[in-house]
Symmetry: C2
Subunit: 199 residues, 2 copies
DNA sequence: AAGAGCAGAGAACGATCGTTCTCTCTTGGT
DNA sequence: ACCAAGAGAGAACGATCGTTCTCTGCTCTT
């Protein structure tokens, strides 16, 4: 077996097990069995468990944001619809089997106080999400795009948390309608010409 | 030492340690030392660790919601300001030393897949919060108070998650302004007479 | 064909976990 | 004063954790 193939098999098993059951609940031996590699290979690819944890989180971060961006590019109608398409993607994600909330928030709650590395990865993930949403918001004419982007990220995180705890995918739709109101209200003479209330 | 006093000392130590460092990272022996009771006493009060975990979460739930309600009662000016006062309280909570996000979301991410009891407690906590916010919203004249309450809870959870990951207490203020927009927009001819846009 | 080197399987190790047991000491009733 | 009962302190137990080591067998070069 190739070394690169072993790495991806280990990371695939780690992502499934860590996300499903938490990090501390999964032992290296069970991981080895799920990946189908030997313990020697496992420690050859990842010298310690926290290395595997960090790599798992980083790979999930890039994959998650790539999937989101691809969905938005494919499904959004016009620049104004792109921020709202984010919530449509969330709705599809919430409905997936095995959805268990934000992997970074879970990892941070479990190990954030102990390991500063997972805290750093989680922070980078959230900053990258904010940067992406800010880019989406800049394409629609609103006053203070950064402030609106931060509000939308609040709705995103809230929807993820709500869907994780309650198991109700409808949180995405509620967040979407709230986002539409916020975007509309932040608009300064947008496409439909509704003026800012500005009291 | 009284048995009730032992219980509260154990619960106080458990709340501090579990919330600070996660549940699985804290052993019963360290807990015993922090509480200043004997192991026999500990297992006499809580026959197993998951009993202690569940009791810790339930007590934190009632205390958390009581503190929130007391703050809202004390600081809100008028019925319309009560939902907004929730976010003021969040801001003070976020700024506290040792703030580490939502204890129920953290516990659920760590043990939710393993223990269904912590999942149930977390769900009950979030339902109680939604019920409380719904009660606040009903006092201000809006169309569809339940929908608005759900949106506000999304903002609350998002602010907690954002503050937990990034350590920025400003999330509470951003959520507050977003909440003000949503409340204003949901109003059906409220106190200031702004009509619903209703497109 | 033979020896060197690497890969897989899993035993082994020390540490730590949740939980129980033992031993000693105090205390209260008669 | 004496005995029963319970409390505290911590040793002990089996399980499991992350990590390393050993042993066996295959493969590749000359």
């Amino acid at each position: 077996m190739d070394l690169d193939e072993a790495r991806t098999r280990i990371l695939d098993a780690a992502e499934k097990l860590f996300y499903d059951r938490g990090i501390q609940s999964v032992g290296m031996d069970e991981l080895r069995t799920a990946a189908g590699v030997s313990l020697k290979r496992l420690y050859q690819c990842f010298p310690a468990k926290h290395d595997l944890v960090e790599t798992y989180l980083r790979r999930r971060d890039t994959r998650w944001r790539t999937a989101l961006a691809e969905y938005v590019d494919a499904h959004a109608d016009g620049p104004a619809g792109r921020p709202l398409a984010v919530f449509d993607w969330l709705g599809e994600w919430f409905a997936e089997d095995g959805f268990r909330g934000c992997a970074f928030l879970n990892a941070c709650g479990e190990l954030g106080a102990t390991s500063d590395r997972v805290g750093r990865v989680a922070r980078e993930h959230k900053e990258a999400l904010l940067a992406y949403v800010t880019g989406l918001v800049r394409a629609v004419p609103v006053a203070e795009p950064e402030a609106l982007a931060r509000q939308l990220v609040l709705l995103i995180d809230g929807a993820i948390a709500g869907a994780a705890l309650m198991g109700e995918p409808g949180a995405a739709r509620q967040a979407r309608t709230a986002a539409a109101v916020l975007i509309e209200e932040a608009g300064c003479g947008g496409a439909n010409g509704v003026p800012h209330k500005g009291n």
